[in-house]
């Protein structure tokens, strides 16, 4: 399992595939003001990216993979996070 969903924060790790998109979509539809921890994530399927984008989810921790972090600059940083 590469995603752990809590009430308002999710933790994504390794590769988040398109098969995870349904769960993520459901989660953002049910919760407002969510954030994701991407620090352990190495790749995100674009379907998931657009869900996060549409939901206005914040990034609470940026990927440690600098390449991925660079790509995802479109996502909103958590007001309290370091980026």
């Amino acid at each position: 399992m590469s995603i752990i969903l809590n009430h308002l924060e999710a933790t994504f790790s390794d590769i988040v595939a398109i098969s995870d998109a349904d769960i993520v979509l459901e989660w953002v539809q049910q919760n407002q003001g969510v954030s994701v921890d991407l620090s352990a994530c190495s790749h995100l399927h674009p379907a998931v990216i657009q869900i996060l984008l549409a939901s206005g989810a914040c990034v609470s921790a940026w990927p440690t993979d600098p390449d991925l972090a660079r790509w995802l600059s479109i996502l909103r940083a958590n007001p309290g996070s370091d980026q």
Partner: protein, 659 residues
């Protein structure tokens, strides 16, 4: 260049030549199913051939053209002028790219960015396939929007600046995956992340995403953009499976644009000639005959040895000479045939030229071609191409009127340009006729005087025909404004000199309000020249027969001098005369004959008759003229030289250069 590649280039040339007229034919009659089928087949063949060499950009364009034509064939998409334009662009691209291969066989042909744009434009014309199982990817590929490049994000700009400062070329990749890509198991984000040397990147949502309750998570609505310093080839290779969804743009970097092309100088491509088999067979037969008749010579020698009378031997030699003479003549004729090509190959480009140009000018023009099978030597044909284009452009630009003007003057709205070719006693006659406004001799006279081409007195003395032919004089251009089309600083004088270089003549007739007709007469072949032999200061020279009007004897007293100009009156006409000795820098004075008469060769130079004083005439001869090479080539007074029957060398004069 290897043989296979050579074959490919020749075949491509042939296909392209066949494709062009088909595109135009379909434009006239879009319902011509046979033409669509043939066009599709040719494009398909071209694509297949290009596939052998993995010419990716050529294939990409041809593939798009093929898909589009397949739709036209299946009546999914309708043939239109716009479609014809796009197809012609694609064909031009292939033509340019393949001719690039000949110059530089190692470089991958075709500019990827251009190829992409052309393929996109072709695909944009495609309709949605009506349910037919189409395996060729997305049917109506949208043009990739690259507007973001006009205003790069600051971080991207900085990255570009520092990369170019370090000497790198920066390419912007815009990847807009089609909405259904997830269903095909694609992960566009993964694909683009694999690109090398990314210096900046981001993801964008081109259209605002709907709220989460309405979003279709499985329809991709993102765009991926990045800047990379990798080569276009490398980028394209990695994006080859999604190339229809990607735009690669080189970011402008003006100070380095001149860099490629430095190594353009390579060994010249070998000019090739396609020859019909039967012509080679004919040559082969003649060589066989030659071998047989050669064998008669040892036999003659043996007879001479055996003490046959000189009279008998002479008779036999003469008989044998007649046989060899016949064969060499036939050989010469056969080898000329090999070099012959139909004028149709030169005329083939005109339907396209007329179509494009008339559309640009807003005129309606019908082009009529006749006698395309008329043949002439390859050199002659090649020399004809450029002047002909210039003449036709002139007709389109200046000759034919706008449709409204034509109707107002009682003509049909659609103008006609007719190019007819025919063979006439050893020459090719080419006539380019238009039914436009014609050339006004009065205006030409006025202009010629204003430009100082002729004096006002001369203007009064020349007839209308001579007046309109003044447009061939250097320094004369009929149009007051320089237009995009014909007025590129190249006047009709260049046309005439190009025609004269291959020993042709050009003449213009025009009736105001009815049109203009230009007649070009060209020799069938360049190899054998008829010359008039003249003698001056003890030396023999040749003058091409085409230049000579007549030879006359004039009494010394009949030469009048006005200052430095000397003239004679010949049948009521004043001719300027010059001494050949003087022109050649020989110190001798012309010799007169026993009756005190001087030999004057009346020749036409630049369309006007002049007299040239020589010592004597020595008849005419057929010579095989060779152009000069090396140091001699720089001497423009001679167009070449020929070896005479007695082994002496005859210099052939280029009169136009002498004056």
């Amino acid at each position: 260049m290897n043989a296979l590649l050579e074959q490919y280039l020749a075949e491509t040339r042939e296909c392209l030549d066949a494709i062009n007229p088909l595109i135009l034919r379909l434009e006239r009659d879009p319902t011509d199913d046979a033409a669509v089928g043939e066009l599709f087949r040719l494009v398909h063949t071209l694509k297949g051939n290009s596939g052998l060499f993995e010419f990716a950009e050529i294939i990409r364009v041809l593939h798009a053209a093929e898909d589009l034509l397949d739709q036209v064939r299946g009546r999914v998409t309708e043939y239109s002028s716009r479609l014809a334009d796009r197809l012609l662009e694609a064909i031009d691209f292939v033509e340019r790219s393949t001719s690039g291969i000949a110059d530089n066989p190692e470089a991958a042909p075709g500019d990827p960015v251009e190829a992409k744009a052309i393929a996109d434009a072709l695909r944009a014309l495609m309709g949605t396939p009506g349910g037919a199982g189409d395996d060729a990817g997305p049917a109506a590929g949208p043009t990739i929007a690259t507007e973001w490049l006009n205003a790069l994000p600051p971080a991207a700009r900085d990255a570009t600046r520092s990369a170019t400062a370090a000497g790198a070329r920066v390419h912007a990749v815009t990847y807009i995956p089609d909405a259904g890509c997830f269903y095909r198991g694609e992960d566009p984000f993964f694909t683009i992340r694999q690109l090398p040397e990314i210096i900046w990147c981001d993801i964008a949502a081109p259209t605002p995403l709907p709220p989460v309750d309405e979003i279709d998570a499985f329809a991709c609505s993102l765009a991926f953009r990045c800047l990379s310093t990798a080569t276009v080839d490398d980028l394209l290779r990695r994006l080859r499976y999604v190339s229809d969804q990607v735009a690669i743009t080189e970011l402008a970097d003006t100070d380095r644009s001149a860099a490629p092309s430095a190594r353009a100088t390579r060994d010249e491509p070998v000019a090739s000639l396609r020859v019909e088999q039967r012509r080679i067979d004919r040559l082969m037969d003649l060589i066989g005959e030659m071998t047989v008749s050669k064998n008669a010579l040892p036999y003659l020698a043996a007879r001479a040895d055996a003490g046959a009378s000189p009279r008998d031997i002479a008779r036999d030699i003469k008989a044998q000479y007649a046989v060899i003479h016949r064969i060499t003549q036939a050989l010469q004729d056969a080898i000329m045939q090999v070099r012959m090509m139909p004028i149709g190959t030169v005329l083939a480009r005109f339907p396209r030229l007329v179509r494009d140009t008339s559309a640009k000018l807003g005129k309606q023009v019908k082009l009529v071609l006749e006698g395309e099978h008329t043949e002439a030597d390859k050199t002659v044909m090649e020399a004809l191409a450029d002047p002909l284009i210039h003449i036709v452009r002139n007709s389109l630009d200046h000759g034919l009127e706008m449709p409204a003007d034509r109707v107002a003057s009682g003509k049909t709205a659609c103008g006609t340009i007719a190019i007819t070719a025919q063979q006439d006693s050893g020459r090719v006659l080419l006539r380019i006729r238009d039914d436009g406004r014609g050339i006004d001799p009065v205006a030409i006279r006025r202009k010629a005087v204003a430009k100082g081409v002729i004096t006002a007195e001369e203007a009064g003395s020349i007839d209308d025909r001579e007046a309109i032919n003044l447009i061939f004089t250097p320094g004369f251009s009929t149009s007051d404004t320089i237009s995009d089309l014909s007025g590129r600083g190249v006047g009709m004088d260049v046309v005439r000199s190009a025609i004269e270089k291959v020993r042709g003549t050009i003449r213009l007739d025009s009736v105001v309000g009815q049109g203009t007709s230009i007649e070009i007469s060209l020799p069938l072949a360049m190899a054998v020249t008829s010359v008039v032999l003249i003698e001056t200061d003890g030396q023999l020279f040749g003058v091409p027969v085409e230049n000579v009007i007549e030879t006359v004897r004039i009494a010394r007293e009949a030469i009048h001098g006005f200052g430095s100009v000397r003239t004679i009156s010949l049948r009521g006409r004043i001719l300027p005369i010059k001494e050949l000795n003087g022109l050649l820098g020989l110190p001798a004075v012309p010799r007169a004959n026993a009756q005190g008469e001087l030999a004057v060769l009346v020749a036409t130079i630049g369309g006007r008759p002049v007299g040239i004083v020589v010592d004597d005439f020595r008849g005419t001869a057929e010579v095989v003229q060779k152009p000069h090479a090396g140091v001699l080539a720089a001497i423009s007074a001679f167009s070449g030289s020929a070896v005479m029957g007695d082994g002496s060398v005859l210099m052939v004069l280029d009169l136009a250069e002498l004056f």
